[in-house]
Each structure stands twice: as structure tokens, then as C-alpha cells.
């Protein structure tokens, strides 16, 4: 999309007053799961793997929604455009950010960065567990707990891809930390923008504004 720079205040361009339920559910589902997995449980635990699968499912749904969803949820509404993002940041620094029909260009870049990191974290997580579903993880753990250690042997028997697994482990760690850094940046950006725009960007992601 070539952004029309001369067009300043098009009344038809209004940001969504309320994001649709799928966007909201996936957003908060992923946010809570990522924070929980980062801070509150142990890597490799059943909870950690289950939440990882949950994040994968929500991410996939959001990507499907990016093609099938309503206008402002579709990829076409917020194409990655670094130049526009820089321009938006300059507007923001000047105190006069413009309205966009969907994510603003800087926010859009953030969205794509999030998705890339989430995909990376999920894929490396799958490599680390060799694709075991939470059900299998639970079975293995139950087996080990009951004294049958063959599950452990099965896991370590594939020596040849130990290198790959090690690499996946490192990447998982780094990507997860990067994800948290992005989240902090995202929250700061929302706060800053809400102040500059004098309207809450948080409300449309929660329940919408109450005023009718």
C-alpha cells in the first residue's frame, strides 16, 4: 500500500473502536501464556509444553484470521513498511500522530516481529521435545514416575541430532528473552501513543469504550 502522504484528515480513516473477539482472544491468550511460561513454570514441564501448544494454536488461528477476518484484522490492512514506521515515529515525537484504520505502521512492524519470535520459540520448543504433544509428555512423565525409565532412554537415543537440539535450546532461550523485550517495548509504545493521541489504545483491545 502506498501511503497517501498528502491526505491528512480523511474522516473515513478511523481506528477500530473495538477489535473483534478473535483478535482480542488470541492477543490476551498469547500474552498471558507467554508471561506464564517465562516467569511461573519450569521449561519442559507439562504446563510449559501445554501452554506452548496453546500459543501455537492461537498463533495459527490469528494467521488464518489475517486472511479471512474482517478488514482491520487482515494482513492487507497493516503491511510491513519500515519507512512508514519511521515516519509514524517522527510524527509521534512531534506530538501529532495520525490515525490509521488498523495498527499504525510502527505497531504493524511490532506485530510481525512478535509473530516471527512466537513462531521461532514454538518451533524450537517442538524440536526440543521432538514434537511430543502434551498428552505424550504427560504419559512419559507418568511412566518415569512409576519407575519405567525407558521413556528417558527413548529421548536420549537419538544422539545424531543432539547438535540440532542444542542449537534449538539456545535459540529457544534467546528468542524467548527477545519476546519479553518486545512485549515491554510494546507496552511502552501503547502507553506513549495513548498519551499522544489522548485516547486509550487499551480499551479497544479489552471491552471497547463504554460510551455510546
Amino acid at each position: 500500500m502506498s501511503t497517501p502522504q498528502t491526505l491528512d484528515a480523511d474522516p473515513s480513516i478511523t481506528p477500530p473502536r473495538l477489535w473483534d473477539p478473535v483478535v482480542r482472544l488470541t492477543h490476551w491468550g498469547i500474552a498471558v501464556s507467554v508471561l506464564f511460561n517465562a516467569a511461573l513454570d519450569e521449561g519442559g514441564s507439562l504446563t510449559h509444553v501445554s501452554l506452548g501448544w496453546l500459543v501455537m494454536a492461537l498463533l495459527l488461528l490469528r494467521l488464518v484470521w489475517g486472511v479471512l477476518g474482517p478488514t482491520e484484522a487482515r494482513f492487507s490492512a497493516f503491511p510491513p513498511n519500515p519507512l512508514a514506521a519511521l515516519r509514524h515515529l517522527r510524527d509521534l515525537a512531534g506530538g501529532h500522530p495520525r490515525d490509521y484504520p488498523s495498527h499504525n505502521p510502527a505497531g504493524a512492524l511490532m506485530v510481525y516481529a512478535f509473530w516471527a519470535m512466537l513462531a521461532l520459540v514454538t518451533v524450537t520448543g517442538l524440536i526440543m521435545t521432538s514434537g511430543a504433544t502434551p498428552m505424550q509428555v504427560a504419559d512419559d512423565k507418568a511412566a518415569v514416575a512409576s519407575g519405567d525409565w525407558s521413556a528417558l532412554i527413548k529421548e536420549s537415543e537419538a544422539e545424531d541430532d543432539a547438535g540440532l537440539r542444542h542449537l534449538a535450546e539456545e535459540t529457544h532461550e534467546v528468542a524467548a528473552n527477545l519476546l519479553l523485550f518486545l512485549a515491554a517495548l510494546h507496552v511502552a509504545g501503547v502507553a506513549l501513543e495513548s498519551r499522544a493521541m489522548r485516547r486509550s489504545l487499551l480499551a479497544p483491545m479489552l471491552l471497547g469504550s463504554r460510551r455510546k
Binding site: 478473535v22 488470541t26 495459527l60 488461528l61 488464518v64
Partner: protein, 172 residues
């Protein structure tokens, strides 16, 4: 405008329910596909695989159709909202012009508008800080200016134009 637990809230509830359903459906599908892939690596027996592939395809198609249906519902709701806003604006235009045509005074305009909104004499009097007798006198003047017999006909004056059909004439 007071809360109206009507079609629009129902529609909103429907989208919320459809969304939650879609999320659960996706969760189920992803876990199932993960399990299928696990099975495949252990024992890719052909009959079993074909059956599971069909189920997987059905689940994925279900998600796509669900998402599509949800999008349609959301767009329909938005169209309704927009139509309602347009109608509201148009109606208030019509009312404004009609009030001017009847040469209502500013005070009478206020009272007439409140009466159209369905407030009774006591409520209008309280809102405007006037005596009930004053409001009653104003309403009488409004009705006579509009040439209607009373409140029911006064309200019907504006609604009538919005209703497409005429009054059905009894056929012999």
C-alpha cells in the same frame, strides 16, 4: 438512549460465542494434528493414516468455514450499526425540519422532542424544572400547531413515513 437488549446485543453475543468456539476448535485441531504426526512416525499403517487424514482435513475445513461465517456475522453487525446511525441522523433531520415548519418556539421544541422520546408530562416537567401545568399547556399548543389530536398521533406523524407499507385495506 437507554440500554436496548435487542438484536444488536444478541448479535454481539453471537460473535463472542462463535469466536470462543473457533478458538476451542483450533486448539482441538492443533492437538489432534500433533498426535497424528506422532502416530505417523511410529506406525504409518495406511488405513489408519487415510482415516486420520480425512478427519484432519474435516477439522481444518471446519475452522476455515467457522472463521468465514464469523467474518460475515461481524460485517453484518457493522452494516446494521451503520444503517442505524444513518437512519438516526436522517430522522433527526426530518424532525428538525418539521418542527421549524410548524414554527415551534425553542421551549416547545424541547418539550416536543422529549414527548417524542416517550417521556410523560411529569417527567418532562421535572427535566425542564417547570410546572406540570406549563408542560401540559405547551403540549396542547404543539398538538394544535401540528394539527394532530394528541400524543399518539403526534408520535405516529414521524413513524408513519418510516413504515414502507400502507395500512392494509380490508378486501371484501
Amino acid at each position: 438512549m437507554t440500554a436496548s437488549p435487542d438484536i444488536r446485543t444478541a448479535g454481539r453475543r453471537q460473535t463472542a460465542a462463535l469466536s470462543v468456539f473457533l478458538v476451542i476448535q483450533t486448539l482441538g485441531t492443533v492437538f489432534f494434528v500433533g498426535d497424528v504426526i506422532g502416530d505417523l512416525r511410529e506406525d504409518p499403517t495406511s488405513m489408519h493414516f487415510i482415516f486420520e487424514a480425512i478427519v484432519t482435513a474435516a477439522l481444518v475445513l471446519g475452522i476455515l468455514f467457522g472463521a468465514f461465517a464469523l467474518r460475515r456475522t461481524i460485517e453484518l453487525l457493522r452494516a446494521q450499526d451503520q444503517a442505524l446511525a444513518v437512519a438516526r441522523g436522517a430522522l433527526s433531520d426530518v424532525i428538525d425540519r418539521q418542527f421549524t415548519a410548524w414554527a415551534l418556539t425553542p421551549a416547545e421544541r424541547d418539550v416536543a422532542f422529549l414527548a417524542l422520546k416517550g417521556l410523560d408530562v411529569a417527567e418532562i416537567a421535572e427535566l425542564r424544572g417547570a410546572a406540570q401545568g406549563t408542560v401540559r399547556a405547551q403540549l396542547t399548543r404543539i398538538y394544535s400547531k401540528a394539527g394532530v389530536s394528541g400524543r399518539a398521533q403526534f408520535a405516529a406523524f414521524f413513524v408513519e413515513d418510516l413504515l414502507g407499507q400502507g395500512v392494509p385495506t380490508p378486501t371484501p
